[in-house]
Amino acid sequence: MAWQWFHRLGSPRWFYQKTSAWLPWLALASVVLLAVGTVWGLGFAPEDAKQGNSYRIIFIHVPAAFLALAGYYIMAISGAIGLIWKMKLSFAVMRAAAPIGAVLTFISLFTGAVWGKPTWGTYWVWDARITSMLILLFLYIGVMALSQAVSREQVADKACALLALVGTVNIPIIYKSVDWWFTLHQPATIRLTESSSIDPSMFYPLLTMIIGFYCMYAWILLTHTRTLLLRREIRTNWVQQELAGGK
């Protein structure tokens, strides 16, 4: 009985109909949280003693970076579930997660560069964290390119899932190796602000933004997955019914 929900989740139709009810709530939550977090963070949080106002970009930068990493694991885990239990739905989630994760990785790199200019005086440093984020972006792009290149949908699903899993094994190794590479050869001149050492007056708006980003991620991922499912299942009865009902 306990596994019933799991098997039901494998059915695209059940998922599609169930998530229709969730979407408005997720949308509402993410819009409210992001609006509150943005106004609070940009307008009311105190100015940083050293960085002035430029630090405020963390309210975008940190949540985006969080989700860029978490998104890779979501992609890889749903790919693994698809490979193991042969679940159509989880492959759709995996395919949907790749472009979203790539965009979030790009946003975190871009905001990091914008933040780096006033803070460190340069847009780009070969810092361990930045470099491993860049490699993460390449891993995402690799998965996307492979999914474009393989013409048969089911083969592309499995191939991407395998590549995502190989990447998962490699992410910790890549991160550690880049970290050591940096510490071995360059003095540690740059420290990225850690959220643990942050003042509560800055931390709470940041937390709001992080939760808001999570909600937004879930919202976009669900919407994207639903679109993919409709496209893949276009020949089935339930999609025809959904499309007819929507008109």
Partner: protein, 237 residues
């Protein structure tokens, strides 16, 4: 069709369900097509010869760039030669037959990766001191460069096999293979160049070499598994 029908492209030879037999055939094929061995080496040497033309012939500058450039070129040479790792076998159906063998596909991939390494990585490592000399690398780095390439190119062959297996059914996999495989090469590159740099600077470099060996051990255990899975997926196409 029974699995005893498996014929290798070499006339008369029979692929027995054994690692050694497959390895022997791969080596024989490599020896018959010597150009496949020579091309990566020539690529390696040619591109490195372009380097001084590009950045200027100052010995200090070249010495500074030598470890990184030699490593990056070794990486590219390995990757470019990897595209054809499973291609021939895929096109004539041998790959499909290999999946039918009573032994795990793991050993077939391992045998092919090992043969690929002996045909490309090992000659690159053997040739590297000569290029190091031409690029004015300090003499302290020679031995370390050789050992690091010896260990590192083997890891590259194994990791690249995953990409080759994923893209074997595609018509033009070249750039896609690079896109998939390059990020996975990063740790090997970092520790390889790190070891050589440490050797040149007069520090102990056994730690980096140990990590390279550990990466190789992990790659030998895991990469053929992933590549075997990828071959089965590609054969569905």
């Amino acid at each position: 069709m029974s699995s005893t029908d498996v014929q290798s492209p070499v006339s008369g030879a029979r692929i027995s369900p054994g690692f050694i037999a497959l390895f022997r055939i791969e080596m024989l094929l490599a020896l018959r097509k010597r150009a496949d061995i020579a091309n990566p080496l020539l690529f390696f040497v040619t591109v490195l010869a372009l380097l001084p033309l590009g950045v200027g012939p100052e010995p200090e500058l070249l010495a500074k760039m030598a470890p990184g450039m030699i490593w990056v070129m070794a990486l590219l040479a390995t990757m470019l030669s990897q595209e054809s790792l499973f291609r021939g076998d895929f096109e004539d159906g041998t790959l499909e037959q290999l999946t039918l063998l009573p032994q795990p596909l793991y050993f077939a991939v391992l045998a092919k990766s090992l043969a690929h390494w002996i045909a490309t990585g090992l000659p690159l490592a053997l040739l590297s001191p000569l290029l190091a000399l031409m690029l004015n690398l300090p003499a302290e780095g020679y031995f370390c460069l050789f050992i690091s390439l010896f260990l590192g190119t083997a890891s590259l062959s194994l990791i690249g096999a995953i990409g080759a297996a994923l893209t074997v059914a595609l018509r033009r996999p070249g750039l896609l293979l690079a896109l998939i495989v390059m990020p996975l090469y990063v740790p090997v590159l970092i520790f390889g160049t790190g070891a050589v740099q440490a050797a040149i600077d007069g520090y102990a470099y056994s730690a980096q070499l140990a990590i390279l060996a550990a990466l190789l051990a992990a790659a030998a255990a895991l990469a053929p598994l992933a590549a075997a899975g990828a071959i089965r997926i590609s054969l569905d196409n």
